[in-house]
């Protein structure tokens, strides 16, 4: 068999690219995508809209061969990204290139935490994929702590040339089970302890969602998410669970805590087979919520579900 660069490249790479200037961004990202297109590879870029314009301009006519997605929509809940990229890989033969910028300056703390979890999970979800992933980080605009975490969650760094990240930590060290507990909920949350009465849990969530001002269909979404998480308390623990609900002008947050442990860090992150008779619960939670945070260790699991009061645009 003849040597081919494509064969030599046939493995997974997850590269962090720190940038400051737009010109540097455009040249590096366009160069990364163009190198793939030249070899007949499929290319997908999910970045904020202003960056889509930059990349398109730099690619010129080649832009037509790249699939673009607005990351502020696709990645508002970072749990939506991996299934989308897996679907793209599944739809294209051979090596695939993906540019994903999951964190931008306007992201809030909860969004940043969820996006960094996503970066860790990329290392697991694509470990066997024939794909190369480039993640741009705005080193001038983002908090230094975010940059430090990016160095921990990416095996490779790119700044001019590529190198191994000396700070890279194996995913098991950066997963929810090892990460810090979620920051405390604000004062004024409503607490409710449940064991088997999930109907009451749903009624409480619906009532609070309506009071907070969620639309009826998004209130139903939140009810489904909380009910699925609370159902796991019944399925997997012998004790009661606690629901906390809290809202302000911007969002309503429901947090469920129980003594269960979620061992699989990718639970709910991959689309279950349609005929699977299990595993849809957490998948649904991630699909209907705007943002989901999870912390799980031997002492229990906390899942925090966020819904914006103003319905944002979303894909699908």
């Amino acid at each position: 068999m003849a040597y081919s660069p494509a064969t030599a490249e046939a493995c997974f790479k997850h590269v962090c690219f720190f940038y400051q200037a737009e010109a540097e961004y455009a040249a590096t990202v366009a160069g990364f995508l163009r190198a793939g297109l030249a070899g007949g590879e499929a290319a997908f870029a999910a970045v904020p809209p202003d960056k889509i314009s930059l990349i398109r301009d730099a690619l010129g006519a080649d832009a037509g061969n790249v699939e673009f997605a607005d990351m502020t929509t696709l990645g508002r809940n970072p749990a939506w990204i991996i299934p989308q990229v897996l679907a793209f890989i599944g739809a294209h033969a051979g090596h695939v290139r993906y540019v994903g910028e999951p964190i931008w300056a306007a992201c809030g703390p909860a969004e940043v935490r969820a996006a960094m979890q996503h970066e860790t999970l990329i290392n697991l979800a694509f470990a066997d994929a024939d794909a190369e992933i480039l993640c741009p980080y705005d080193i001038a605009a983002l908090d230094p702590a975010v940059i430090a975490d990016a160095r921990r969650t990416h095996p490779l760094l790119s700044s001019g040339r590529r190198s191994m990240s000396p700070e890279y930590a194996v995913p098991s060290d950066t997963l929810p089970s090892r990460s810090l507990p979620l920051p405390a909920l604000t004062n004024g949350a409503m607490y409710h302890t449940y064991r088997t009465d999930l109907s009451q849990v749903r009624a409480l969530v619906l009532q609070h969602a309506r009071e907070a001002g969620l639309t009826e269909s998004r209130a139903d979404d939140l009810v489904l998410a909380v009910s699925e998480v609370a159902a796991n308390t019944l399925r997997h623990t012998q004790s009661s669970g606690t629901l906390a609900v809290w809202h302000d002008r911007d969002e309503i947050v429901c947090e469920v805590h129980d003594e269960g442990t979620i061992a699989n860090p990718q639970a709910g992150r991959r689309r279950p087979a349609p005929d699977a008779t299990g595993g849809h619960g957490l998948w649904l939670v991630h699909q209907v919520c705007d943002l989901v945070e999870l912390h799980s260790d031997a002492s229990g699991t906390t899942i925090r579900m966020h819904m914006a009061i103003q319905p944002p645009e979303r894909n699908g």
Partner: protein, 116 residues
């Protein structure tokens, strides 16, 4: 009052008999075993067509979906058809997000379901 009630009827459409199960209330992990027993009892009678009327179902979680998917497998093996009719918005959305609506025919009305 029970969280979920079921009632079973047999009927005919164009001389083709079918079994209709009405679900009323909320179907979740706390009553999915009862739902399974009701549905399995009907499936054991080997109907050609089994229709679940979901118009009275205010809520359905993934446990109830899994019961329905298992029943669907048995119906498949028996050469019968399981169909869902009139899901309310939250149930219809849940079926879409799980892709359950790709495995099971979902109709807006029972009449459409009987017409197949």
């Amino acid at each position: 009052m029970d969280l979920l009630t079921t009632s079973v009827a047999t009927a005919e459409s164009d001389t083709e008999p079918y079994t209709l199960v009405l679900l009323d209330g909320e179907a979740d992990v706390t009553n999915c075993n009862a739902l399974r027993e009701v549905l399995e009892a009907e499936v054991a009678k080997q109907p050609r067509t089994l229709i679940l009327d979901l118009s009275g179902l205010r809520f359905m979680d993934s446990s109830a979906l899994h019961v329905i998917l298992r029943v669907n497998r048995t119906m498949d093996r028996q050469g019968g058809v399981l169909a869902l009719a009139c899901p309310r918005d939250p149930v219809a959305k849940m079926l879409r997000l799980t892709a359950g609506d790709q495995l099971l025919p979902v109709y807006a009305t029972v009449d459409e379901a009987t017409a197949g």
